[in-house]
Symmetry: C2
Subunit: 162 residues, 2 copies
């Protein structure tokens, strides 16, 4: 995850990346919604984490990470408390959306190439920390799609983002 000096004209704006990210967050929310309550908390494959545990990881990163970056604060990663129902997950998901918008707005473009030691342990340029957690969401949601298929539930279309 090293960065290189910008040797060419940039092609993505901060606004565009946020919009792209929110397209993914919409799709992840729909994916969570499709799980039956019980299976959301209990089903997994090959000893992996449940969909609830994967969703919880996503919740523990995006909002807290952007807050830490916006405040230039290397607070440690906090294991999130586990919501007790899918409805509570979705509520937290929506709250995280607001948190992401708030802190995203507080990180100026100029800071994206800057190194930042996220959670006191991931020392990368801010841009790469951000791309990492977007990619991590796509990765784990892809795994949730397999869980849904294994449960005989049709996942959302990958291209539906709004």
């Amino acid at each position: 995850m090293e960065t290189t000096a910008t040797t060419t004209m940039p092609i993505i704006s901060k606004d565009e990346l946020l919009k792209h990210y929110f397209g993914h967050r919409f799709l992840t929310r729909r994916t969570i919604e499709l799980f039956p309550e019980k299976e959301f908390f209990e089903f997994s494959i090959g000893g992996m984490r449940t969909a609830a545990q994967l969703a919880n990881e996503l919740l523990s990163i995006a909002g807290p990470a952007l807050k830490a970056i916006a405040n230039s604060d290397d607070v440690p990663y906090i294991e999130p408390s586990v919501p007790a129902s899918k409805a509570e997950y979705l509520k937290k998901w929506d709250e995280a959306d607001e948190e992401i918008k708030t802190y995203w707005a507080q990180i100026p473009e100029e800071r994206f190439p800057e190194m930042f030691n996220l959670f006191g342990q991931y020392n990368f340029p801010i841009l790469h920390n951000v791309l990492y957690f977007i990619d991590n969401e796509i990765h784990h949601r892809g795994q949730m799609f397999v869980y849904l298929r294994a449960l005989n539930i049709e996942p959302p279309f990958f291209w539906e983002r709004w």
Copy 2:
């Protein structure tokens, strides 16, 4: 996948996005490598495609799409021929790397916001067509990770990209 006008300073350069993409391609290649030959072609979960079929989709997009974009050619999507062995997949993967580098270099930054009707059917800004196929690779590789776990094989670390 609509785009917005660039209202803020851009934060990712074309070179950075390519480097980021190649980090993912490296990880996908390692994921393919870890499958046993037989399971690569035969194993799946919940009626989904096999890892070979998913990898074949990835091969049918990246190189051909960038070639079409570079040449401003709305050739239709071609169902790829299916390689007969994992070794042949890996060879095609490496060939695609070279194709991607070649055609990426031929697409100037200025074209990324331009609409392009990829394969005569996906009419989006070039940037969003490109982000789509990077995300699609992350998505399907996440699914291959579940297949590996179900086969009791440890997938690579998500953060190892080189």
